[in-house]
Amino acid sequence: MPSIEKLANGLTLIVEEIPHSESAAYELSIPGGMVLDPEDRIGACLILAELNARGAGNLDSKQLSNAFEEAGIRHAESADHDRFALRGSLLAEKLPRALELVSWIVLQPAHDPDEIESIQNVLLQELGSLVDHPAQRALVELGKRYYPAPFGRPSLGTEEGIRATTLQDLKSQWTQKFKPEGAVLSVAGKVTSAEVRKLAEQYFGEWSGKGPCLPEFGKLPPHRAFHVPFDSAQLQIALAYPSARFGDPDYYAAKVTTGLLSGGMFGRLFIEVREKRGLCYSVYARHGSTRNYGTVTVYAGTTAERAHETFEVTVKELRGLKGTVTEEELDRAKANLSAALVIGEESTASRASSNAFDWWIGGTVRTLDEIQAGIDAVTVASVDRYLERFPANSFMSLTLGSRELALS
């Protein structure tokens, strides 16, 4: 069971001891990210995440990068949907050095103005290159339309927002957001709670203040069908509709139901769309949750002449689940989810990250046993109850490709 405590400055500390491991991993989450960027600076958080790591403490950009590498620490930072995250994996004995360097990034970033333009250039290129990734682009375009502002903001920012951001914007964002209260530091691996607490107090003890609150989640826009014209070999089909969010009594039913549709190679979508009809190479449904909402996203990529059939079969499967799930099918989806849990959580990096994520979206940390119990408790009846609450009878849809599809 991971230990959870709050340090005097409000920083939440989660530690999972894994004694047989050689490694350790950390993840520091700080409120911010895309939903908290100013309306005309969407993407500023991406610049800030990168800028913070380009020189901190008494080290310039290259020295800081070298310092991580000399200690064999695989470190990365990102600005996600609603948080800044600093993550790393390392041999456990290097944890003190890792936390020292991370504390410099958080508390004493150099914010060298000469670095901003090059960061903007890379981000703008990444944004532009979305055109070369049609499947990803279709999902981004769908997200923009599906969620209420600011929750549908694209994860790569906007061209205007990235271009408009100044050093002053970044400094003020850093001053407001990089605070311990509301932040969480999660560590897992060959460590002890006492040792990590001591390190956290040593390196983050002088950090103070309260970070921003996240915006209220608004009402989802009405469902509609969109098409983005694009000259390509395949037509991308993406759908989204509401589901149970983390903490909802039907959360595990939502996970299992998505497994029934799309787990392993046995899900109904894979079987009906790909295995029986050969309509697609890639077809899937995913269940995702933030602290505010749960969503099922469905994707299929197929050549234009087979798109209509792909769409029809996909929707038939989504709508045909309720009342038709067998015990055997349910057991399979549950077995798959349970095994994926054990296998996926084998690394210290995934333990540190999952614990931070749980805390982030639900204010609690689940042990693997608790998750297992949640999966075990799902029955055919609870799947049907979930499908009653969250039916696929209406959804937001988006196609991207050379031919528009009449969606119904």
Binding site: H20, S21, E22, S23, S61, N66, F68, E69, E70, G72, R74, S89, L90, L91, S118, Q120, N121, V122, Q125, G128, S129, V131, D132, H133, P134, A135, D231, A233, Q234, G263, G264, M265, F266, I271, R274, E275, K276, R277, G278, L279, C280, Y281, G301, T302, T303, R306, D331, R332, A333, A335, N336, L337, A339, A340, V342, I343, E346, S347, T348, A349
Partner: protein, 406 residues
């Protein structure tokens, strides 16, 4: 890394078994590494290795496709497969108490029924996969460039094949290919993590000992030297790409450890020469290098993606860096070694990470490399080793490939 046992044995029909048991793991992984891929195909059967890999999931004499899929689902198997120019790998991660069942299914899968109806349906899936990659410019360039670089040498054969070759290939041609390549002595069954070695061997004997052994051949040759320059054009492309290729060391060459360290110094995703000159400076949104070590042949590659107006400048920097491979400090070398060792330990904690390392090493070098040994080899790479490697593989005659908007 304590408590790890390494085992190997071979069945009478030549099927090699390898295992690395680690009781600390909560799961296990197992897989067949078959030494076959697109380089072993005749021109008219281009893509058949990969198509066959799909067909392995479509039923056996004992199970039809749905039974196979459902039974793997029932035991929570996280299974998959991939095909490259020279290897086809079928693998699964599994919880320990289901390991034996998974092994039985995996062994059964390796003797496919190749049902005609399933073949016809799966052909459509492969054609969709080809269409999918048509829309991915970077993939398109790599595939074309490797083909043009290797020329008549089969190491550059397309893995997917073309819409034409896939449309034309028949079920019987696929069966012939299977009969030519899937000999037990041309594959290794590997397991790693939390599993029982004795039971693994006994079960392999039970399920695979009747497989008939036959000789398989792969002609090994170096590439005919020569520089190639090509510009590929694609419509609707936003970013441009540049790829530099030169002859490098093969998977059996002693120089491979030095070359791996060198490619980390030149083009790792962080802290490398390409990173500092191209990404940190904001010129490119992607850059990297790799020592691609294949069976008896290899290439060193460096690539970058950028906006069209910056392409010439980025290509010039890329060319300068790859043409001066020995421009690095002791500090650069030490950091590269440390980074690689840390990654080896981290991936070694996962059964799947060890499985891939063990299976690949066996198919190329017929030996087991323990994690400790690989780390020692990396740690001992000196500047002199890299200089010697570059003497043998001079990284001088660079071929250059670009992908630009039409």
């Amino acid at each position: 890394m304590s408590g790890i046992e390494v085992h190997q044995t071979v069945l009478a029909n030549g099927l090699q078994l390898l295992g690395e048991v680690n009781r600390n793991n909560k799961s296990a992984a197992l897989g067949f590494f078959v030494k076959t891929g697109s380089r072993d195909e005749a021109q008219k059967e281009s893509g058949v290795s990969h198509f066959l890999e799909h067909m392995m999931f479509k039923g056996t004499a004992k199970r039809n496709a749905l039974e196979l899929t459902f039974q793997m689902g029932n035991i929570g198997a996280q299974s998959n497969a991939f095909t490259s120019e020279e290897n086809t790998v079928y693998y699964a991660s599994i919880i320990p108490r289901r390991f034996a069942e998974m092994q039985e299914i995996l062994c059964d899968m390796l003797r496919p029924a190749l049902d005609q109806q399933e073949f016809d349906t799966e052909k459509k899936v492969i054609l969709e996969e080809i269409a999918l990659y048509q829309d991915r410019p970077q993939f398109y360039m790599f595939e074309k460039a490797l083909g043009d670089f290797f020329g008549a040498h089969p190491a550059g054969n397309s893995v997917l094949g073309s819409a034409e070759s896939i449309s034309a290939v028949t079920r019987d041609e696929m069966a012939d290919y299977f009969k030519r390549r899937y000999s037990p002595s041309n594959m290794v069954l590997t397991a790693s993590g939390n599993f029982d070695w004795q039971r693994f061997v006994a079960d392999a004997e039970k399920y695979c000992s009747k497989w008939e052994d036959f000789r398989t051949e792969r002609k090994l040759a170096r590439r005919t030297p020569g520089k190639v320059a090509k510009i590929y054009k694609r419509k609707n492309v936003k970013q441009t790409h540049v790829l530099m290729l030169a002859d490098g060391c093969g998977a059996q060459d002693e120089e491979r450890f030095a070359m791996t360290v060198l490619s980390t110094i030149i083009g790792d995703s962080s802290g490398s020469r390409l990173y500092w000159e191209l990404i940190d400076s904001g010129l490119a949104d992607g850059a990297g290098s790799d020592s691609d070590e294949k069976d008896g042949v290899g290439c060193f590659m460096a690539y970058a993606s950028t906006e069209p107006e910056k392409l010439d400048r980025v290509a010039e920097i890329l060319r300068r860096i790859v043409s001066t491979p020995l421009e690095f400090s002791e500090g650069d070398l030490e950091r590269a070694r440390t980074k690689l060792c840390a990654r080896i330990v981290l991936s070694g904690e996962l059964p799947l990470g060890r499985l891939m390392a063990l299976g690949n090493e066996w198919n190329y070098n017929r030996r087991i490399h323990s994690l400790r040994e690989v780390m020692e080899r990396i740690k001992s790479v000196s500047r002199t080793d890299i200089e010697n490697a570059v003497k043998r593989y001079p990284l001088r005659d660079w071929s250059e490939f670009r992908l630009v908007p039409e």
